[in-house]
């Protein structure tokens, strides 16, 4: 048996017993996949790219709040009511979340990723905290009480209201993301990302634009976090600032470090 077949067997086993798992287990498994999505981004950023971030929870919040706002705020729903069907609103929320995260992460990355040593992690704590307080203090986002009444996702007329129905989608997204990240690491661009960790001089001498690659990895990790936030919002159907505070940001980093921050996936561990 190879590593690949073992991985596939585990996924198959999870898929087969999914309908018979207790409700509680299903919820826990859904959360595991949501956290894994963020942690996978952090593995790319911290374990492979060599940049530590405590602030990923803020990007999860961006993803979650974007869709919550698009789906529930009177301004957005009334403006969009004539253009799109209500069932499509969450998808617009996803698009907005990814776009916002892209812009914010690129801007933050361009400014803070030049910092080296301890300054970068400290800086990520700073903007992680400030985004958290921002979400808690914006009235149109519900302040500390948050936003309730998010619609469930529907795919092809099928409502994904319960964790048992949404879980497979979350896992599918996670597995797809892991597959894509694994492919990325096994390529020319992946080699350039790995080279970032060993210092700028070497990578630059090989022709790698290190500043640009650092920003790109950072944006990639942020987008994965936002994706997780979007799924989270439609799993909970409720969003408030608490799950995005700096403790959770630290926990995400722990996940990446405990699991093995240089190791995204069984297949990419095996030396070629």
């Amino acid at each position: 048996m190879t590593r690949r077949t073992l991985t596939l067997l585990c996924i198959l086993a999870l898929a087969l017993c999914w309908p018979w798992l207790p409700d509680y287990t299903v919820t826990v498994f859904s959360y595991i996949a949501l956290y894994s999505l963020v942690a996978a981004g952090l593995v790319m950023l911290t374990g492979i790219g060599g940049m530590t971030s405590f602030g990923q929870a803020a990007f999860v919040a961006l993803g979650a709040y974007s869709t919550a706002w698009v789906c529930t705020s009177p301004v957005a729903t009334s403006a969009l009511a004539e253009v799109v069907a209500p069932a499509l609103l969450p998808w617009l929320g996803l698009a907005l979340g990814l776009l916002l995260t892209f812009v914010v992460a690129w801007a933050l990355g361009a400014i803070t990723l030049k910092l080296s040593g301890h300054y970068l992690p400290l800086c990520t704590i700073a903007w992680g905290l400030s985004l958290y307080y921002l979400f808690g203090n914006l009235d149109f986002l519900g302040g500390q009480t948050g936003i309730t009444g998010l619609p469930a996702l529907t795919v092809g007329g099928l409502s994904l209201a319960s964790p048992r129905a949404l879980g497979p989608l979350i896992w599918a997204v996670l597995l797809l993301a892991l597959w894509a990240l694994h492919n990325l690491l096994d390529s020319r661009e992946g080699r350039a990302v790995r080279a970032l960790k060993s210092g700028r001089v070497m990578a630059e001498s090989m022709g790698v634009d290190t500043a640009r690659y650092r920003t790109k990895v950072f944006v990639l990790a942020a987008l994965l976090a936002a994706l997780s936030g979007w799924l989270y919002a439609h799993l909970q159907r409720f969003v408030n600032p608490t799950p995005f505070n700096i403790n959770i940001g630290i926990e995400y980093l722990f996940m990446a470090v405990v699991g093995g921050s240089g190791h995204l996936w069984a297949l990419c561990w095996a030396p070629r």
Binding site: T2, S36, G47, L178, S187, E189, R191, V258
Partner: protein
Amino acid sequence: MGAVLGATLITLVKEQLQDILPKLLGTSGNFEVIVFGLLMLFVLQRFAEGLWPTLARVSSRFLKPEPAPRVAAPAPLATRSLPARGRLLLEADRVTKRFGGLVANDAVAMNLKAGEVHALIGPNGAGKSTFFNMISGVDDPSEGEVRLLGEPMTGKPSREFAARGLGRTFQHVRLLGNRSVLDNVALGAHQRGHRGWIASMLRLDRAEEAALLAEARRQIERCGLGAFADSPAASLALGQQRVVEIARALAGQPAALLLDEPAAGLRHLEKQALAELLSQLRAEGLGILVVEHDMEFVMNLADRITVLEFGAVIAEGTPAEVQANPRVLDAYLGGSEEPVVAEAVA
């Protein structure tokens, strides 16, 4: 799967702790945070790399290794037409570098032509490393100018130097130790591919990737390390790692090759093999600049030698001319410094 493993463990442990701890202690509160912190300390102490490598090691006893992936037909790579023999590749035009009041390089002028081996020598602290940094784009001169194939390079990053055909190695080997030699060398060919992140994620880059790896393997074999292509770079001897760096520079198809002490740490036979490789590259029309301490190696190989002392050029010429130059003899024999010991950072 490290990410998934970590997320699973942390989620499950947290859930359990939140249930058990209040019962155990008799009061409610966020005690799990404390236990969590202690657990984290333990894990980071015992498994600094995370749990995944340990798991992978244990599982490798009963898991078979992956079969070699199917290799796509390689796509043609971008190739550079090398400049004609004798053409000026690299010119340092009265390059001066000051650090505060210290003048590390004082109006150093030298050049490198296609099809020659040019050696840069000098006692410790002569300013060789500073000069090397400036001609490879790591640092900018305070005065004067470095030109690469006629193009002024002041203010340009070293990746521009690489793009214009300069390959280099490092005095202190800079390889990714846990990646294979092949992977390390393929990094040198980075600029010869162009497929982006999305294409890589969707595996649309396989033809280009196959070509890059084939090119890397060819350079490794040419440098005589074919048997080690799939070993982790850190498992090689230091001298061999220096040769891996040369292979990595060659994978970028450079016109000019800058080698920072390539013979340091090599055994006698390895030095001979290296000299043969460099002669062969010279015959192919590359210009090679060598900063080196091994006089025997330099004198047998170089076409021209430039001698630095106290940041200034004191002699330039063929090995015979330089050996007969009284100022060189004075610098090496008259001074208190040993010419053959490892160089301090100038």
